[in-house]
Amino acid sequence: DQQVKQNSPSLSVQEGRISILNCDYTNSMFDYFLWYKKYPAEGPTFLISISSIKDKNEDGRFTVFLNKSAKHLSLHIVPSQPGDSAVYFCAAGLAGGTSYGKLTFGQGTILTVHP
């Protein structure tokens, strides 16, 4: 059962435009959500996060939106730059019990930003 899904395997965007990466989840108990970025042959690096009590979090060019009723989150990158080209993973976690810190990841979306 895939609890976190990224339905778009890839996204291609022109430099300077907005990139929108989407993620859906099924477990309404998730307390927090994160986006990770991954370059080839490297481990994922943390990008931005959002708690379930918020609907928006912004950090520079990156903004994450959370729609709890739709169980949907999205990552907006504005403006997109060629260096943003990477695989983006969304992840979700539970804040309590023995699962604290355990993350459930989506399949990833390959973002390509063209100059």
């Binding site: 994160l34 481990g43 690096t45 943390f46 996060s49 993973f89 804040a95 355990k102 993350l103 990841f105």
Partner: protein, 115 residues
């Protein structure tokens, strides 16, 4: 080193052989996580350590998989009698504490190929 390191970076083995994968977390990080990424899939949680104990082993796929952590530092993931479906990238992450979920730092991974 400053980051999480993993060895070997690549491992090719024959079906039925045992393999050991090593993770050196960032010094001082008490929480350590193992994930794996199979082709076309997201990161799949395997096991989590707090210190030397593993409160959550729920992600280990079978009893052929085991992991230990000694001295609150290095961790070894062992796969016995490897099968072709074990082929994946095995990623290790560490964080200061399990509450610091946003700062899970990942290593570069070990790419395992079972022939």
């Amino acid at each position: 080193g400053a980051g999480v390191s993993q060895s070997p970076s690549n491992k090719v083995t024959e079906k039925g052989k045992d393999v050991e994968l090593r993770c050196d977390p960032i010094s001082g990080h008490t929480a350590l996580y193992w994930y794996r990424q199979s082709l076309g899939q997201g990161l799949e949680f395997l096991i989590y350590f707090q210190g030397n104990s593993a409160p959550d082993k729920s992600g280990l796929p079978s009893d052929r998989f085991s992991a230990e952590r000694t001295g609150g530092s290095v961790s070894t993931l062992t796969i016995q009698r490897t099968q072709q479906e074990d082929s994946a990238v095995y990623l290790c992450a560490s964080s200061l504490a399990p509450t610091r979920w946003e700062t899970q730092y990942f290593g570069p991974g070990t790419r395992l190929l079972v022939l």
